[in-house]
Structures are given as structure tokens and as C-alpha cells.
Amino acid sequence: MAFAPRGPEASFFQVLDQHRASLLAALRKGGREPAGGGTHLATSSEVLAAIENVIQDIITSLARNEAPAFTIDNRSSWENIKFEDSVGLHMVSHCTTRKIKSDSPKSVKTFALILKILSMIYKLVQSNTYATKRDIYYTDSQLFGNQTVVDNIINDISCMLKVPRRSLHILSTSKGLIAGNLRYIEEDGTKVNCACATAVAVPSNIQGIQNLITDAKFLLIVEKDATFQRLLDDSFCTKMSPCIMVTGKGVPDLNTRLLVKKLWDTFHVPIFTLVDADPHGIEIMCIYKYGSMAMSFEAHNLTVPAIRWLGLLPSDIKRLNIPKGTLIPLTKQDQMKLDSILKRPYITCQPFWRKEMEIMADSKMKAEIQALTFLSSDYLSRVYLPNKLKFGGWI
């Protein structure tokens, strides 16, 4: 791969390479092929047939003088979600459901909106065009009421038809950024090279990306855009080349998660997160690694359980003597979130994460990554991250 080697020496990446080897070995042991491949996506004809089946069921109910109803999985119920450390959070096979009835005053509108969006999806798939959730909402904002209604119905349809959202030709709006050693060609033929000075927006059609090329030694997921920009300004990707940086600007959108998943599936490049040492940052990291409740029905396509926590660790605060004046007390919401995370099923197989969270809980303090600037303005990119990566300071 013809990237000019401007990064550290090869020995710098020794621990990283060992880490990658162990990850690959774990994959083989788990019976999963290390070679990357995409997950199976439904074809257009499969999606159209699925929608036609739904319509036929409705018409059959009407012919029997029965009120048609949709049976929707309860996606956002913990009783329907289980944890597997190879997948993360995903829906159980026989989950509880709810009925959206056409003859109930409370649900008739939702019933109608589901049909409305199904008909729009049908047209998109037939015409091989795409729309975002926002586009769907704005086709008749008065009818839908608000964006959240549209978002939930689209997710329910995806879950009901057992088809990933991108197969429904509905794209999520991307807000993430990429930078570093990565090239690809978008669906429309646009060639993208992320190794430029400014970052590249995460594409809206991850499924359509082709010719992915990289020799990155690691992929760093950065929680905040401010931190990402700071690292860009510090030429981190050049100094630590070959590497890739991604940010979801907080809670990641679907496309950012899909991209990370795609990069892992394709290249098995070690992935690390750089988040604030606070419950919110930890939760964002968990979304990348184990998935979210809302998208648990698509966990297999979105989660990367191999992700490791690089920093900022609560234990780093004491280790690095970060001034106490830069720390922030945990709020009541922080404490509630921290308690919630500690109770989640995936923490039981992460004893080191648990320990870090307990340190945070005991100290009742949190710290942003920016706290490192009090040590020196470029401490993060010049000292902290390189040392962490060189000496395996991840958990």
C-alpha cells in the first residue's frame, strides 16, 4: 500500500500488532472467519416481497372482517435484550410484542403512519433511490407531527420486516468525520481520500462504499469533535501514521457505527476509544462496543465488541497528577447513569472497566480529555496517546 511512511518506527507498533494478532486468534477460536466480509443485506426484491406480504395480510384480515394489526417487537424493553460478549446487546429470538391496531382510537394513527412509510419505502426501493429519515418527515411534516415519530416507525419497520434500515433505502444523516489512512470509492463513483488536512464526512451510504483501502495500525474513535479537531490540528494522523481517526460527535449516528463496523470486519484493525472520563463518555463507548437498546435488533451489523478503552481512564487522573481544579464533581444525573452502566450485563465481563468506574464513583469526580491540556497544550497528542498506544495502555 503506497502511503508515505511519516509516522513512528515499526517497533512503535509492536504491542499493537500483538494485540491485533490476539484479536484475530480470538475470532478464529470463536468460529468466525477473520477475513472481512459484509453482513447479508436484503435485496430489493426481497424487501418489496416483504412489504407485499404485509399488505396481503392486512387485506386478508379485512376480508375476514377482522381489524388488521401490526405486531411489533418491543425494541426498547430490557426483557427483550440479552448480552453476548461476541455480539454485545441484541434482541432475544422470542421477544415480547405489542399490537398496533387499526380499530383502536389510540393506535389507528400509528397504524396509518406505518402504512404510509411502508408505501414510501416501497417506492424508494422500486426506483432504487434513497432518502434520509429527515426527508421522509418533510414529505408531510403535519401528518407525522415530529421527527421522532418517523424515526421510531422506521426502526419498527426494520425490525418487523427483519431487514436492515439501509435495505429500506432510508439513510440516516451522517454527522461523523473520518481522517487518516483510508481511501474508498463511494457508490456514485466519488473517490475519497481521508488523508487530507481536513477531515472527511462519514458517507451516508456505507453499504455502497467500495474499494476500501488502508494499512492503518489502529483506528481511534474520538468522542468529541473538539478533541478530534485538536488532534487534526496537531497532525496526529501524520505523526502516528498509519492510522485512522473517527468521531461521531457525541452519541454516534448509525452511519458512523456502520463505518466502524465495516472497517473492523474488513481489516480487523484494532479499535480504541478516546472519551471523557465521565459516565456520558463511557456510555458512548459502550454504544460503539456493545450497541444500544434502540438498535439492538441490528446489533450484529453495528457492534464491535473488540473495541478497547484507551483513555481518558479515571485511573489516569491520579496517575498523571491532573490538577484537582480541572476536575468536575459528578452531578446527580451522572451518578444515576454511572449506577445504570454498572448494572448492565456487559460490565460483568469487563472487570477492568468496572474498576475504573468504581474509581470514578468513589472519587465522585469526572474529567474531560481537555484536562490534559493543563499538563501541556499538546500533551494529548504528543505524550498521552503515543505512550498509551506504544505500551498497550488500553483496557
Binding site: 387485506i59 376480508a63 372482517n65 381489524a67 387499526s102 380499530d103 402504512l115 411502508l118 408505501s119
Partner: protein
């Protein structure tokens, strides 16, 4: 006037009050249950021309008048009806009645009078209306009323024991079947699937008693409770019915007895001619005028007070249906004294109310109007919410139908399209769309009808046995109405006849008349 009608009604009132007090001693709040037979046999008088000799019999079908002391009863009745130009006599079956009997055998009394045929006809109508009014609040009492004129018999049974009711306090239950209050043909082509009214109870208010009335020795409180409802049911109907075109007011006293004995020959009280007395109609942008056209010869309970909206030319804001809805207002006056009420005390209260009703209501105008206004506001709000819900439903169904049509017509799969058409038995896409809409509409209307009947069930107070029976029958009523409707649609007349005959058994609505009317019988024959 103290003709047969007044006599019958006063005697019935007395008996019901007695019955009520006896029942309350055993089970407070229980509904009165039993059957009374009223028969009038009239023959041409041998001594007076154009006069009928009428023998009226009032009897109970079972032993429901326990504790009735006959001598005392006769004395009290004669004091109530001093002008009755007839003889009250008493007959008993076998030897069971003595002077102080505890009433273990059926009761019967007979009196005679002479009346003109036209008067008898009027009396019959007055009695019928009275009986009908009574059973709409005392639904478990059944009246068997017959008139035989020169051998020609007409009989009618009044009862509502299997109809859905709204239980009120103190042993009264308001029948909520709209057929008692509004005639169905009025709504001709408009869809009507819910046969109930849904009364909203207002808060009880204490009536102020004028001094001169209080001096008559009323020791207790008069409490008025209003109940307002729109008829027909606003929950399940075509969107054409959304304006009030008339208002009907019914006044009931303690024990569920009508306070006003309507007579086609007597004018309405001056108080009630003031249309703004009970309700401030301006608030609803309505102009009401008294409706003096009371047609006694109908199967409806005639209101004590009736108003209608004064139509104004050029009013294009109202919807197309010229009939609109009727606002029903039921005013229940009850008596509380802190002690168990005695029969004569209750009788005295009733007499006081019937003779001084206008004065009492005038004295209490402000509180009465406030309480009624709140109940009416709630009933109208209920109506408004129902209209909104209906519109929302229609909009949603339209979206659902259009979405399905979009997929069906846009599909390139001929097998899918063919299957859709075959399933709904449609020849083409247009017919498919029509049937699709119709199917959704029928299913949602059925569901809303069920929702309506459940609403009535939820309003019932604990007399669960009665409630369950009423609800079962109410459900059955609904099913039968739908069955009849569908049978008609399917052209199955036999099913319609079966369904309708079962409806007649359950409902009071149409009378059962044994009516043979030879041409020579004259007007007295027609009830």
C-alpha cells in the same frame, strides 16, 4: 281535572312511594322490581248519551305491596282525590285481605267514572306518557296497560328491565336507550350505530325553599342533580350530526316520579316558557324558543319542557342535516332529612314539589342554572371530543387506504395484485379501493360501537348483577342491531325478521298491541 288519568297517576304515585319506602327499609338503594296492571274497561253508558262508563282496575302481578294497610290506604287515596266522582272499592282474592294485612297476596283496586270518549282518549295518552316516564327511571317496574272500549281491546306493555341504564343514587336508574327520547326515523339516511345516550351528571345542588312553601312543614333538604346528554350518541355517527337543534327537559321528583303530569290541553308553565331559565343558550350561540307542539301519539317519552332552535335565514355555518341533535336534560330532585323518610313525608314532599315547582325553581334559579350549565358544558365537550376523534379516525383511515392503494397499484407483481383483488372480490383497482375503504370503515365503526357500550358499563354504580345483565343485553342489543343491519345488506330477510323479533323482546321500543279495529269502533279505539 280529576278524571281517570289523574286518578290513575296519583294512585300509582302513592303506591310507588309506599313500595319505595318499604323496599328502602330492607335494601336501601335497590331498584323497585315488579309488575302492575292497569286496565280501563269502557262501555257506552246506559244513562247518558255520548258517555262511557269506565271501570278502572289497578292490580299488582305479585305481592309487592307488603305493609299496605288497606283501610288507611283507601282513606288516604280519597283525601288525595276528593274530587274524584267515583267510588273506590276494594276486592281481594280469596280470604287473604283483612284490615291489617301484611300483603302476602296480589293487590287490586277498582274505581269507576263516567267520561266522554274524547276525554278517555286524552286520559289514555296522559297515562301512557306517565307510565313511559316512570319506567325510564324505574326500569324494573313493568306496566301492563290496556283499554277496552265497547269490546275492542288495546294493550301496551311498558318496561325497560333489559335495557342499558345509568344507575343513580337512591334506587333510580336512568334508561340510556335513545329510542325512548328521539325517534330513529328522524335520522333517516344518517348512519347511527350506537343506540345509547351517555349522560353526564352534574354536581348536586340544594334548592332554596321560598318562605311560604317552607311554612308548610318541609323538614329536610331538596337536592337537585342534573344529567345532560346529547342524543343521538355523538361517539359513533356520521359527521353530519354536529349541531343542537332542540332541547328536552325531564323533571323527576323523589322516588323517580315525574313532577309534571303532561296534558295536551294544559299550557306550559310560565317559568319554563323562559328558555333561558335552565341554560344560558347565548353561550352556545343558540337562540331557543319554546316548542309547544307536543305530539302525545308517539312512542317517545314526552319532555316536560321542550325547546327548539330558532332557525335563522342565511345561517350557512351549520351542517347539512336539518334535524341535528337533541340536548336531553334530566333534573332529579331528591329529598334528604337525615332520618329514614316516611311514606307520608315523601308524599308530602312530592305534592309540594308538583304544586310549587315554579316557585322553588325560581328561588333557586342561580344555583340550578350553574349546575346545569356545568353538566351541559361537559356533555358538549364530550360531543366535541367525539367529533375530533371521528375526524382523526377518518383522516387516519384515509392515509391507510391511500398507502395500500399506492403499493397495490405500483406493484409490478401481477400475482400480488391479483391476490389483492381476489381477496376483496374486486373486479378492478377502483372497486378494490372502494371495498378497502368500506371494510376499514365497518371495522372501526364496530369497534367504536363496542367502545361506546363499554363506556356505559363503566358508568354503572355497584349493583353488579343488574349491571352485568344490562351490559350483556346491551351487548346483545348491539350485536343484534348489527346482525339486522348486515342481514339487510346481504338481502337475508329471514335473519332480519329473527333479529328484529328478538329486539322487540328485549327492548320496549315498539308496543305490543292487540288491536282489532273495526270501522264502527270510532276514535276511542285508537291508542
Amino acid at each position: 281535572m280529576e278524571g281517570t288519568a289523574v286518578a290513575v297517576c296519583e294512585i300509582l304515585k302513592y303506591l310507588i312511594i309506599h313500595w319505595r319506602c318499604e323496599t328502602a327499609r330492607i335494601s336501601k338503594g335497590a331498584l323497585l322490581e315488579g309488575e302492575l296492571v292497569i286496565s280501563i274497561e269502557a262501555l257506552n253508558s246506559k244513562h247518558q248519551a255520548n258517555t262511557l262508563h269506565c271501570v278502572t282496575t289497578i292490580a299488582s302481578a305479585g305481592s309487592i305491596f307488603g305493609g299496605l294497610v288497606l283501610k288507611k290506604f283507601l282513606k288516604e287515596i280519597q283525601s288525595i282525590l276528593p274530587g274524584l266522582s267515583a267510588e273506590l272499592s276494594w276486592t281481594s282474592e280469596e280470604t287473604s285481605y283483612s284490615q291489617d294485612v301484611s300483603g302476602v297476596t296480589p293487590f287490586q283496586m277498582i274505581f269507576e267514572a263516567h267520561e266522554k270518549p274524547r276525554t278517555l282518549m286524552t286520559d289514555s295518552l296522559v297515562i301512557k306518557n306517565f307510565l313511559h316516564k316512570v319506567i325510564t327511571v324505574l326500569p324494573k317496574i313493568r306496566f301492563n296497560f290496556s283499554v277496552k272500549v265497547n269490546g275492542i281491546l288495546s294493550m301496551e306493555i311498558f318496561g325497560a328491565e333489559n335495557e342499558p341504564t345509568l344507575n343513580l343514587s337512591n334506587g333510580i336508574a336512568l334508561v340510556v336507550n335513545h329510542q325512548h327520547y328521539v325517534s330513529t326515523p328522524k335520522f333517516g339516511t344518517t348512519e347511527l350505530l350506537c343506540s345509547r345516550i351517555h349522560p353526564v351528571l352534574g354536581h348536586p345542588v340544594m334548592l332554596f325553599i321560598p318562605d311560604d312553601v317552607a311554612k308548610m312543614g318541609l323538614l329536610g333538604e331538596l337536592i337537585l342533580t342534573p344529567a345532560a346528554a346529547l342524543c343521538p350518541c355523538p361517539n359513533v355517527f356520521s359527521n353530519q350530526l354536529n349541531r343542537i337543534s332542540s332541547a328536552s327537559i325531564f323533571l323527576y321528583g323523589p322516588s323517580g316520579l315525574p313532577l309534571i303530569l303532561l296534558n295536551p290541553e294544559q299550557p306550559t308553565s310560565t317559568t319554563f316558557k323562559d328558555t333561558s331559565y335552565f341554560i344560558n343558550w347565548k353561550k352556545y350561540h343558540l337562540c331557543m324558543v319554546p316548542n309547544l307542539d307536543l305530539n302525545f301519539d308517539r312512542d317517545l317519552v314526552l319532555p316536560d319542557v321542550s325547546y327548539q332552535v330558532e332557525s335563522s335565514e342565511g345561517d350557512q355555518t351549520q351542517n347539512m342535516d336539518p334535524q341535528g341533535q337533541t340536548l336531553l336534560l334530566f333534573l332529579f330532585v331528591d329529598f334528604h332529612s337525615g332520618f329514614p323518610v316516611q311514606k307520608m313525608e315523601l308524599w308530602g314532599v312530592h305534592t309540594l314539589l308538583t304544586t310549587h315547582l315554579s316557585a322553588i325553581l325560581t328561588e333557586s334559579h342561580s344555583v340550578v342554572q350553574d349546575s346545569i350549565q356545568v353538566a351541559v358544558d361537559q356533555a358538549l365537550e364530550q360531543h366535541h371530543q367525539a367529533v375530533k376523534a371521528h375526524q382523526k379516525l377518518q383522516a387516519s383511515l384515509s392515509v391507510a387506504v391511500n398507502s395500500i392503494m399506492s403499493i397495490m397499484t405500483g406493484s409490478t407483481s401481477s400475482s400480488f395484485r391479483k391476490t389483492c383483488l381476489q381477496t376483496l372480490q374486486a373486479a378492478d383497482t377502483q372497486e378494490f379501493g372502494t371495498k378497502l375503504h368500506k371494510s376499514f370503515h365497518e371495522i372501526t365503526q364496530n369497534r367504536f360501537l363496542h367502545h361506546c357500550s363499554r363506556e356505559v358499563k363503566q358508568q354503572l354504580l355497584p349493583e353488579k348483577k343488574n349491571a352485568e345483565q344490562s351490559t350483556e343485553d346491551a351487548h346483545e342489543n348491539s350485536s343484534l342491531e348489527l346482525l339486522a343491519g348486515r342481514a339487510v345488506a346481504a338481502g337475508n330477510l329471514q335473519s332480519v325478521r329473527v333479529a328484529e323479533s328478538r329486539l322487540r323482546v328485549l327492548n320496549r321500543a315498539p308496543s305490543r298491541r292487540l288491536h282489532v279495529c273495526p270501522a264502527a269502533a270510532g276514535p276511542a279505539c285508537c291508542l
